[in-house]
Symmetry: C2
Subunit: 195 residues, 2 copies
Amino acid sequence: MIGYPNAKPKNIHSKTQTSSSNRGMTLEHDLNLTNEYYLDVDKAVIFKKPTPVQIVNVDYPKRSAAKITEAYFKTPSTTDYNGIYKGKPVDFEAKETKSKTSFPLKSIHPHQIEHLKRVIRHGGIGFFIIRFTYYDETYYIEASKLIDVYLSHEHSSVPYNWFQENGYLIPFSLTPRVDYLKIIDCYILKEVKYE
Amino acid sequence: MIGYPNAKPKNIHSKTQTSSSNRGMTLEHDLNLTNEYYLDVDKAVIFKKPTPVQIVNVDYPKRSAAKITEAYFKTPSTTDYNGIYKGKPVDFEAKETKSKTSFPLKSIHPHQIEHLKRVIRHGGIGFFIIRFTYYDETYYIEASKLIDVYLSHEHSSVPYNWFQENGYLIPFSLTPRVDYLKIIDCYILKEVKYE
């Protein structure tokens, strides 16, 4: 699960030019707007999957909608987002952290690692989008790189500067807010130059 | 939503050789087993998306899991299944009907039609899996064909024989139960001959 809906970014002097415009928005919210934009301009077909829920009890009141009265959150068996870009399967997990120093690996489920390994093996574009809310920076990380770190079992968290060195900083704009397809174009498909 | 969990197939003399082994299983159940098999043998990465639910109220009891106490089913904005096969995006909706004569189009949401149009436009393999439980027959239908009928607004349902003429009957076996990738291999990618 991504998102800290109640988190308020601290009043810091951020190093990034764009931080003030982005404050207070969760990564999930930004990605939803971004994916809607991609749909609207017909650039890609990427959706967030619904939150997996185990439904235990449902009431069917007369003349109104079925009401779920008992349900529990389930551990996701895949990533949160997938879809199609330029004929290719795209699949990613998005997380944000409030930490200034590192990203905690425990926020990624082993299922999701397994899933992204499969995605890569079957020819999809697999990646992570990781936001450090303190710096208001959002990174695109190729799945294979973070999986290597995850599977090395050496660390329970990955230092912030690892993301600076191994990831691509996703530029922030108003529309789209988190333009991760630009990173795919420039660095993964290498079709266009980064502007 | 697919599945009639309480439906019991009638005791008919089915024309298909395979019907008796398949009786009483919902299409959703069969597809889950099929997709698990594809995962196990590393043939494809295809999952059913979780049922979309609007969560209204959650209790957080001490020392136990969060309990959702009020939630409602939402209209899906996409299809139920998607994933990757041979490097290509795969996306489909599955439905079953008890009707002997026709498939009711109202069981497909306009959102799902729109979504499958996008999938095709962006280079994915989009299709429907439609089961006539009475005959115990499961058809693979290219999305474009059923969308054409859907958008023609001439009929509220599609006759059973339309599926015989325009679809591909998916062979039933124990493992995998609904081998729809065989149809993709033979008729969509046209890489191998149908055995």
